[in-house]
Symmetry: C2
């Protein structure tokens, strides 16, 4: 059967989760893993694991499971993590600093190559082993360091300006932590992480749980928050 080149979006979002679970398993020196075990570790069900992995090809062995090391390799290849990616962080406030020092990036092939801020007073300050540069230097930094991904950690009101500067400088992918939607030209990818949004979603389900107290109001119990 010809393998379809395109992997469903939902699968793409889960591959990094499997990858981490697999790396943990590898460290625990597991040679092989079943879809059941991997599902458990990733917090999904095993049918989903098998479907997802089948999009990569037939890398499992019936009656045995998947070879951990080989599967790690395949997922890395599929996600483009065999190379490492240089990222630039724009906006070195609390969040920017936390991101600059976040070990999870380096562990997974993302190298924080540069830090920029619009505040001239901050320029020259050291964070970890990088020096904060002025945002005006972006074009040179992107070019020099071959930066592919820009991370926006500025306040909301600066985000669009910085996004424009990143794009102008040649960055093609943007991860936006600012609590505002930014617009970019076609061909540039954006993902948005909004810390407060996640809390609001939790609050919704928390509130709904409280409603469980007066269950008698209706026949059917109020649903629990769906597992992800």
């Amino acid at each position: 059967m010809v393998r379809d080149r395109s992997i469903p979006e939902a699968t793409v979002t889960r591959l990094p989760v499997y990858l981490r679970a697999l790396v943990d398993l590898a460290e625990a020196s597991a040679g092989t893993v079943s879809s059941d075990e991997l599902a458990e570790a990733a917090g999904v069900n095993s049918a989903k694991v098998r479907k997802d992995l089948s999009h990569l090809g037939s890398y499992g062995t019936r009656g045995v499971g998947y070879d951990v090391a080989y599967l790690i390799h395949q997922i890395r290849r599929e996600l483009g993590l065999t190379q490492d990616w240089a990222i630039v962080i724009a906006g070195i406030g609390n969040l920017g600093q936390a991101l600059a020092n976040y070990d999870g990036f380096a562990e997974r092939g993302f190298r924080v190559a540069a830090l920029v801020d619009a505040d001239v007073a901050r320029v020259g300050e050291r964070v970890g082993d990088l020096e904060i540069r002025h945002v005006e230097d972006l074009p040179a930094l992107v070019e020099e360091l071959d930066v592919a991904i820009g991370v926006i950690a500025t306040p909301a009101n600066a985000a669009q300006v910085v996004a424009d500067q990143l794009v102008e400088a040649g960055v093609r992918s943007v991860l936006n932590f600012a609590p505002v939607m930014i617009t970019v030209p076609p061909g540039v990818s954006v993902r948005k992480v909004d810390l407060a949004v996640e809390l609001q979603i939790l609050a919704f389900y928390e509130q709904r749980k409280a409603t469980l107290a007066d269950v008698k109001r209706r026949g059917r119990a109020v649903a629990d928050m769906p597992a992800r």
Copy 2:
């Protein structure tokens, strides 16, 4: 028509996004907004906005649009944001500190009520106007401050232990920033934010863009990253 009490999960995840856009619009003193305008501001399409809002009830006016202030009120009510929620942050490293100082929480009704860390050496240290407390104090803090939501900002290896402590202390909702899956008893909600996962997803699409260079390989162009 009887309005169904249950709002689709996909809609719940978008309500906070609409809410923010609406608050921005309100600040720009817009009295009314059409589904088209709101869609633009939220980065989705207008049919989705109308479907989503229709789950809250019929709050729009045909030929005119939605009353911004009223819609804000309705979404807040639906999300349970009319009260404010006390949260505790566990693990006061770089990320924990950034979260403790993050304005976006307070702005949206989340009050950081306590900070805890397992490292006794950190106890007593001040971050903003809170003092770091020892993780052992969790039960007392949760009780006293009526904490509903716990945020885990510890390293991966401490996350499960802290999650257990939070649940033990009475927290019913957990936002997990640690790069590991945690398990909790039924009835406790967990959402997970993984900073590196988002980067990995971007890398996937970035890599795919690179593949566009050799478009001739196949008839159909490689798809762009789907908009969220």
